[in-house]
């Protein structure tokens, strides 16, 4: 296979109904404007998805996009993005995955796959060396993720291939089913697995032998060494190399920033068995995604139970909440078993745990009874009931069939006072963090483009109580912001800037295909715009300054907002449930205890956030902003014709 340009944007448009594909090259100018990955995927979604299409209908495309630096010499350049109209929220569907699929996709000759239509019978796709082949998948249908992977690897006999697949949850179109790219790597949020299932597409196998010619390999290597040193030597990376993201739990649970029993408490006292150190008896080693030196995921094996023959990876911090604090369980063993279950069935960990915790609170309050749960005693801390409810959701049995619809439709189906107890934004549940004491983190989940989500704009370093001069070094760049910044994490002042800055940075790394742990997420000393400018130049030859990358990220963030506005987003959707404002936190350290958000101050934060972005008071981009970002004409009716 001939060499390709590292900046090319090669696209395979796949028609599942006709079992055909065609290859396109995107306009090279799109690269400097939308970069790749998540940013360019939003642009492609505008082009290929008819406005208002049925998220589970054949006209909703599933768009898979590698980042601009994915598979290059840049460290942790493993990421690949998935986009479609979300069956969970009806808004932007967007999810990002590490592992090895993204680089393999590029080596196989594509930066993007646009998968359209619906196959008449289950299929799997083999993407290799510039071609797409179609194979029947009827024998795989019904299999879990683990068995599907085993079956496919046995069939293709190529251990270097990368496999994406869905489990029974995706087949059954659970609205928060995910796409699995390994035994743990997942495009977890916004229901991309349900979209794949609606297309009768069980799996995509990818294998490439192509090359990505690096523009300035010696410089790229030298500079990447520097970035690696910057990342792996930070204290937070040293902790993650030992315990993974589970380390966060020790800090947040101690402080009182963890949703417990759905939203009734903000701390689970005496939960030593959920602390990251409790993983040590189970962990065999640490594993990493492509090109990453941090190695943030445990490889573990359970000695007994249904998954004793399978390796597991994780658990992430999110799993400790989903199958720990939120549902009132205190057992690492339960977390690990449920981690296996959701990964094998193909369910989003965060949404699954949140839905079960919500159901438990409804059960406690008598809104749900055993007649609704199929006889299951859905009490707090009932480990077996949690595992059984996960199965009920994936196979859509009993109450699981209702929970599988996602928060808002489920509340509508249950009725009574059930919606009051939901912890969701824009129809998507939140991580188990409790943002009542932290206005900046609360703003982050209120305005995130895909619903309540920490990975779209969380200013996590706000919790570190950093010296102000260090915060200023981070948040005043690269555009010379001269407004307020405050290093008190209980303050409302200056936080809109932090959230906007993080949103643009996270958009940038999601579009470049770099892991967030290699940027300013957990450490103020990690790479940001300046370093990524160098990495882009040395790897691709594109000379994009830090300021230009900032603008590109800003453009992509606004584009995602435009997609949502086109699908009914209003200012009221950039808001939090009443419980955040009405129920003070009962536990935690003094700094986090007795806290709830102030409506007026929070509304002022949202307004400040809009103003900083150049949005009007309703959260819509002004004509000046659209013109400045080159997005004029995007708003309203983006793709009435359904693409090319």
């Amino acid at each position: 296979m001939s060499q390709v340009s590292v900046t090319s944007q090669r696209l395979a448009v796949i028609d599942l109904e006709r079992r055909t594909f065609r290859v396109e090259q995107l306009d090279p100018q799109l690269t400097s404007r939308f970069l790749g990955g998540r940013g360019l995927a939003a642009r492609l979604l505008m082009q290929y998805a008819p406005r208002g299409c049925d998220p589970l209908g054949p006209e909703n495309p599933l768009i898979i996009s590698a980042g601009l630096l994915t598979g290059t010499m840049a460290s942790a350049s493993a990421r690949v993005n998935f986009a479609a109209r979300s069956p969970l929220t009806g808004l932007l569907g967007s999810s990002n995955m590490g592992g090895g699929f993204g680089p393999e996709l590029r080596w196989a000759g594509f930066e993007h796959l646009v998968i359209r239509g619906r196959a008449s019978e289950p299929l799997w796709l083999y993407v290799r060396d510039g071609k797409v082949e179609f194979f029947p998948a009827a024998r795989l249908w019904g299999q879990g993720v683990y068995q599907t992977r085993r079956s496919l690897y046995a069939e293709i006999a190529d251990p270097r291939a990368q496999v994406l697949c869905i489990g029974p949850a995706g087949e059954n179109q659970v609205r928060f089913a995910c796409i699995m790219g390994g035994i743990k790597s997942a495009a977890g949020r916004t229901g991309m697995g349900a979209v794949m299932g609606s297309k009768n597409l069980k799996a995509i196998v990818c294998r490439g032998r192509g090359d990505l010619p690096i523009a300035r390999p010696e410089k790229a290597l030298e500079y990447n060494r520097r970035v690696i040193g910057q990342v792996v030597s930070s204290k937070v990376s040293r902790v993650m190399q030992r315990w993974g993201t589970a380390f966060i739990f020790d800090v947040t649970n101690t402080t009182g920033l963890v949703r417990t029993r759905n939203f009734q408490y903000n701390q689970l006292p005496r939960s030593e068995d959920l602390e990251c150190e409790a993983m040590e008896p189970y962990s065999q080693s640490m594993a990493a995604c492509f090109g990453c030196q941090v190695h943030c995921r445990h490889r573990y094996r359970l000695a007994s139970g249904p998954y004793r023959d399978f390796w597991g990876q994780g658990p992430e911090y999110s799993s400790l909440g989903a199958f720990g604090t939120e549902v009132g369980c205190r057992s690492m063993r339960t977390v690990l078993e449920c981690n296996h279950l959701v990964n094998d069935l193909g369910l989003d960990t965060i949404e699954t745990g949140s839905m079960i915790a919500w159901a438990m609170e409804l059960y406690e309050k008598g809104i749900l009874t055993r007649a609704d749960t199929g006889g299951l005693e859905l009490g707090w801390g009932n480990d077996r009931a949690v595992a059984e409810m996960i199965r009920q959701i994936a196979y859509r049995r009993h109450l699981g069939d209702i929970l599988a619809r996602g928060p808002l439709p489920a509340a509508e189906a249950i009725g009574k006072d059930s919606r009051r107890y939901l912890i969701q934004v824009k129809g998507m549940s939140s991580l188990h963090s409790d943002e009542r004491p932290t206005p900046s983190l609360a703003l982050n989940i209120a305005v995130a483009s895909r619903g309540a989500d920490h990975l779209r704009g969380r200013p996590a370093i706000d919790l570190y109580n950093l010296p102000l001069d260090l915060l200023e070094k981070v948040y005043r760049r690269p555009d010379g912001y001269d407004g307020p910044l405050v290093n008190d994490w209980t303050s409302y002042r200056g936080k809109a800037r932090m959230v906007m800055w993080q949103e643009i940075l996270y958009m940038l790394v999601d579009s470049l295909g770099i892991c967030k742990f290699h940027t300013v997420f957990f450490s103020p000393n990690h790479p940001a715009f300046e370093e990524f400018s160098q990495l882009v130049e040395y790897n691709t030859g594109l000379e994009l300054s830090a300021r230009q990358l900032w603008t590109a990220g800003w453009r992509c963030c606004v584009l995602e907002r435009i997609y949502n506005l086109d699908h009914g987003l209003a200012r009221d959707d950039d808001w939090l449930p009443d419980r955040f404002f009405d129920e003070p936190t009962p536990l935690g350290l003094p700094v986090a205890r007795g806290k709830c958000l102030d409506r007026e101050k929070f509304a002022a934060m949202v307004s400040e956030y809009y103003r900083l972005y150049g949005l009007d008071r309703d959260g819509r981009p002004s004509p000046e902003l659209l013109n400045r970002l080159g997005l004029s004409g995007q708003l309203a009716g983006h793709a009435a014709g359904g693409g090319q």
């Binding site: 040193g229 030597s233 040293r238 020790d250 402080t255 689970l268 009132g328 707090w380």
Partner: protein, 74 residues
Amino acid sequence: MMAAAEKKNRPDPGRQVRVRCLACFARFVPSPASDRARCPACGLWWRLAWVGEDFAKIRGPVWESFPGMEDVDI
């Protein structure tokens, strides 16, 4: 070229270990390899975990001494 953060945070077995109290943010020096320590500034007791000989972190509170736990039963 070594980044500033790399210099500052590289493993250094000879360096004095300090941890930061999660309640009052004061930094204090725990005894080597100890699994508990008391913040001299605010008096709270903490359980510790050691990332390496040169690096300790707070694992969690000593719950029996954690403020406001008297009536908590969850």
